[in-house]
């Protein structure tokens, strides 16, 4: 009995170890870093038009919100001046560029995270789920050796090794994978309790909320009960499929493809800011490291061929005497 128990524990520990600590190429992590940093950069630039309206003491929320004894923190609680708002904004902007380039990557991710949280806690009334997702993805990136490949940090090491992808434990990427799964399962759970997700009209309503609509959706789509049913139940089916079947190696690409189409549709029809792009950035963690490596190297080769092909034409355009 005791031996059997020990055997089960040993197998459990071994499975845990394999799931979280298997070393994999950092090619997927590099693509994930670039995808998240691109979204963060866009998010930061999009904050500029309303920066002082949202976060200064002369704005729509002059006082720091009361978090009633929770441990929610933010630099703007301690440094509330307009100068601090400006400073933190430019730190965020610079750090997100560094994160994208992979320069001082860990420090850049840390600064991005600190600044994003500070802005988020200063005025939570202007944020949606997508904004929080971007912040979460940066947190997970902060835990990962995100500058170990395809980065300035890598380039500053022996340059012959720039196109190598050192193997590192997979656990930070696994955390993002689990987060994606939780996101969809919770989304479905929250929805099936509602009337309109059960009677198949929810998507019709969602697409007709005037203050949230982005590009026009034809009225025959939103007014048709049959199409509304199809879109509503289809959304639930896709979200549930991603939440569960994304763990199946064979079905993973197909359910993620459905997810991509769902989120591009949402981004077209609904004013949700960076929500769809944040989700798509999170999908990158499901790209197998070998595929990510091939993708990166083939892009390098294609760009290399392009630049080589351009060289003779540049030379040909020069005056003959100066060749």
């Amino acid at each position: 009995m005791r031996r059997m128990l020990e055997e089960h524990v040993r197998r459990g520990v071994s499975a845990w170890d394999a799931f979280w600590f298997t070393p994999v190429d950092t090619s997927t992590l590099a693509l994930f870093r670039i995808a998240v940093a691109t979204v963060v950069l866009g998010w930061t630039l999009a904050l500029a038009p309303s920066l002082y309206a949202f976060y200064s003491r002369d704005g729509i929320l002059p006082a720091y919100p009361d978090y009633q004894g929770s441990l929610a923190w933010g630099l703007l609680e301690w440094f509330p001046s307009n100068g601090a708002v400006t400073l933190f904004y430019f730190v965020l902007l610079l750090a997100s560029i560094c994160l994208l380039a992979g320069f001082a990557t860990r420090a850049a991710a840390f600064l991005v995270f600190i600044c994003m949280v500070s802005f988020a806690h200063r005025n939570p009334w202007v944020l949606n789920s997508g904004d929080l997702l971007v912040q979460l993805l940066v947190f997970y990136l902060l835990l990962a050796p995100a500058g170990d490949a395809l980065s300035v940090d890598r380039w500053l090491k022996p340059r012959t090794a720039f196109w190598e992808f050192p193997r590192r434990a997979i656990w930070p990427l696994r955390l993002v994978q689990v987060q994606v799964s939780i996101l969809y399962i919770v989304a479905v759970w929250d929805k099936v309790r509602g009337d309109t997700w059960n009677d198949g009209t929810a998507v019709s309503y969602a697409l007709r909320i005037g203050d949230l609509s982005r590009f026009p959706v034809p009225s025959f789509v939103t007014d048709s009960q049959v199409i509304a049913n199809f879109l509503t139940f289809g959304t639930l089916a896709i979200e549930l499929s991603i939440g569960i079947l994304v763990w199946n190696r064979v079905l993973r690409p197909w359910v993620l493809l459905l997810g991509v189409s769902l989120h591009l549709g949402i981004d077209y029809g609904v004013r949700v800011g960076f929500f769809s792009w944040a989700v798509l950035a999170a999908y990158v963690v499901f790209i197998p490291p070998d595929t990510a490596r091939s993708l990166i190297l083939s892009t390098r080769d294609r760009l290399g061929r392009l630049s080589v092909a351009n060289l003779p034409s540049v030379a040909a355009n020069r005056p003959a005497g100066r060749r």
């Binding site: 845990w16 170890d17 979280w20 600590f21 999009a46 904050l47 500029a48 309303s50 002369d58 729509i60 929320l61 002059p62 006082a63 978090y67 441990l71 929610a72 923190w73 995270f113 949280v117 009334w125 202007v126 944020l127 949606n128 789920s129 929080l132 947190f139 050796p145 590192r168 434990a169 656990w171 955390l175 689990v178 987060q179 939780i182 996101l183 919770v186 989304a187 929250d190 929805k191 309790r193 509602g194 009337d195 309109t196 929810a202 019709s204 309503y205 969602a206 007709r208 909320i209 005037g210 203050d211 982005r214 939103t222 048709s224 009960q225 509304a228 004013r271 949700v272 800011g273 929500f275």
Partner: protein, 178 residues
Amino acid sequence: MQQRLENSVAGRAAISVFLLITLASLVVWNMPNSEVQRKSLKVVRPYVTALSLEQNWGVFAPDPRRETLDFLARVRYADGSEEEVRMPTGGSVVGAYWDYHWWKWVESVTNDQRDGLWKPAAVWFGRRATTDTRQPVRVTLVRRWYQLFPPGPGPSRGPWQEAEYYTLRITPSDQGVR
């Protein structure tokens, strides 16, 4: 440093503890509103808020809103004239990536349970309407909306309706009283 940690037994054990706590916290944070969640949140909330892992995936859940919202501030000037002032908005292509923050705010500022946002909003719109030659003396917040009807035959929406729900009298120093 991280690599060394991941390669040692003690390091892996420490990371495993972190993973277990984080995963348990995420599960509790996201589980349905229940007695188990309420009790567990007392333990989990400090961890989640300290690491800023707060999340909410109830997008359009449990039901999408069944109305379209709009919001404006009606400003009366010292000379007796009136003007409607709106929040900044952008276009559908690029503007949608920054003005969604404003529309998110509208959901709160027009909500009766968020009345703490009303006065600062009125002050801000009053300031926005102030020019060298025109001084606001009163700012009224106006909620506008129309109902969305179920898909199918018949009209898809009702008429625009509006309600003035907060008025602020502006003093020269912007210290208004209700």
